[in-house]
């Protein structure tokens, strides 16, 4: 049998390349299914959640559907044709868009002023609470962005994809990705501006 390195592609923590994992799964290796789920489900879930906003049940549905499509695609996967992670991000992004279109929703996140102010407590606990509040505020601000900006910012800055990878997932050019992420970050700054004191950013 070919080794994982022979197949190329991303090499995960288990030291097996993504495409090799799919090939092992297709060959019936029972350990491969677990490795695939552990490697790809967290990405699918986190991306879906960040693109959808705070609806965890919907994010679970989309992550599960994306993984179902990956299980189906695995036996026919052709090495070198597409990166598994890019393919999965594209599936998740499209499922999110479909879901949002179906519900006629457009980034209707909760209002930023609903973020609770941090309460008093120990310095360490307060810092953690402030960090928690900041992340919650960021999630809500992300959800308030226009869909394409949100997609670009999440893929580029939260999932850590390169600009060409984001361009591949979104089906647009690299310059468009750069423009979307720049505008997205400016919009985030504007959305969070009113919360800066509550979030411990005094003086900004």
């Amino acid at each position: 049998m070919q080794t994982a390195r022979d197949w190329g592609g991303d090499v995960g923590e288990a030291g097996v390349a993504d495409e090799a994992l799919l090939a092992l799964y297709a060959a019936g290796d029972p350990a491969a299914a677990r490795l695939i789920a552990e490697r790809f489900l967290p990405r699918a879930y986190a991306t879906a959640l960040r693109l959808l906003g705070p609806d965890r049940a919907e994010a679970e549905d989309i992550a599960q559907e994306a993984m179902l499509r990956l299980w189906r695609a695995a036996p026919g996967w052709r090495a070198g044709e597409a990166r598994v992670s890019t393919w999965l991000y594209r599936v998740v992004a499209n499922l999110v868009i479909d879901r949002q279109r179906a519900r006629g929703r457009r980034g209707d996140a909760a209002a930023l002023d609903e973020v609770e102010e941090p309460s008093d407590g120990q310095p360490g606990a307060l810092a953690r609470m402030i960090e928690g509040e900041r992340q919650e505020a960021l999630e809500q601000a992300l959800a308030a962005l226009p869909a394409r900006q949100r997609q670009a910012v999440v893929l580029r800055h939260l999932e850590g994809l390169s600009n060409p990878e984001v361009a591949d997932v979104m089906g647009i050019g690299i310059e468009a990705v750069e423009s979307l992420t720049a505008r997205g970050k400016r919009a985030l700054a504007a959305l969070l501006f009113g919360q800066r004191e509550a979030l411990g950013y005094e003086g900004d």
Binding site: A32, A33, E38, P42, Y45, Q64, R72, E131, H157, E159
Partner: protein
């Protein structure tokens, strides 16, 4: 708010992504195992799918594929047409060939008409003896 604050927020968020719930992981893994082809032997992987995949329409066929698929399914599947084809071919052979011999074996002429001679009769007679 300053850009570096936004960058720091995004970096922190990237370091601590939301984790999928354990029951979601269990469901996904169960689906993966159920859909996984069995361990390959000499003849390659053998499907051990236990869930029914969604119907896949081949590209380019569109409405025709869906209509004809439904039509065939309504009649009992494409096997029905295969059986009808065999029957038609055999009928054509009987129609083309002289059926006199066959009629002579299975039927006897009586009063200007034909009556059916039970083919099984001689065998049953033999059983009685």
């Amino acid at each position: 708010m300053k850009d570096d604050r936004i960058d720091a927020l995004l970096t922190e968020a990237r370091r601590s992504p939301p984790q999928p719930p354990a029951d979601l992981m269990a469901r996904v893994l169960a689906e993966g195992l159920a859909m996984q082809p069995a361990m390959s032997g000499a003849d390659g992987p053998v499907a051990r799918r236990t869930t029914t995949p969604k119907a896949v329409t081949r590209p380019g066929l569109g409405l025709w594929a869906r209509w004809s698929g439904g039509f065939l399914a309504g009649l009992g599947g494409s096997g029905v047409f295969a059986s009808l084809g065999v029957v038609a071919a055999v009928s054509l052979v009987f129609g083309y060939a002289d059926p006199t011999g066959l009629a002579g074996e299975l039927m006897s002429q009586a009063d200007g008409g034909y009556e059916i001679v039970p083919v099984a009769g001689p065998f049953l007679d033999g059983v009685d003896e």
